[in-house]
Chain length 137, copies 2
């Protein structure tokens, strides 16, 4: 039986991880100069980590460096869909073996520039909810 | 000539506002217990304000109350698309005339429950970027 919180069906952790594992477009929530910001990224999953690319000198690269960030994905068809939220520390990948593994993900960077940097988020908390169509019932 | 920042084309403020004006699914970035979080909402624009519904007693309702929040929308087709970010103070709409106006928006709440609350974000900063397909050039 599904868990309901505030009228929304909560997704099981395994379902959240399975949806995260698809990769694609996700959104990173960070703080820049005390103000919140959300940036879309093209991401993939490596082990348990969420991995994406940032460009050299971008706001996003500075903001995610060893910070606790939010990462969110969703899919909607009108008002029906689901959303998954992961929260964890982000850090640039610098280890050689990890970089080699990250390069196999064939990620396309959003920000341009020659020098791209791999960032990983190690999720500490993962939650998800299904959003039903209230007009359908 | 378009402005470029870190290899991404910046959108003009009028284009950002025009894209925000479409309404639909947006994402709110807030802080809950010192941790960042992102929630999808169904929103519309009233004047300059971004308006959405929260359910009674939801985490989102508590988090947005008189806080500075991020609001983000985007649209992607594979790795090509755009993203708009607005930042401003969120507050529950309590004024009678404003509530009447908000009710005309015919917003569908994501969170269930009988009691819904209108929240508005008054954008102080709006920015947007177009994300091209690097494989297309």
């Amino acid at each position: 039986m599904p868990l309901i919180e505030n009228g929304l069906e909560l997704l099981e952790p395994e379902e959240c991880r399975s949806l995260l594992g698809r990769g694609g477009i996700g959104r990173v929530g960070v703080t820049i100069g005390a103000l919140p910001a959300i940036f879309p990224v093209n991401y993939a999953v490596l082990g348990e980590d969420i991995v994406f690319l940032t460009g050299e000198g971008t706001k996003l690269r500075t903001a995610v460096d060893r910070s606790v960030v939010a990462f969110q994905i969703d899919e909607f068809d009108n008002a029906t869909g689901w959303s998954v939220l992961a929260v964890g520390v982000a850090a640039e990948i610098t280890d050689g073996a990890e970089l080699d593994a990250a390069r196999t993900l064939r990620l396309v960077p959003f920000a341009g520039g020659d020098r791209c940097h791999f960032v990983r988020i190690r999720p500490e908390f993962v939650s998800g909810r299904r959003i039903g169509d209230p007009t359908a019932s």
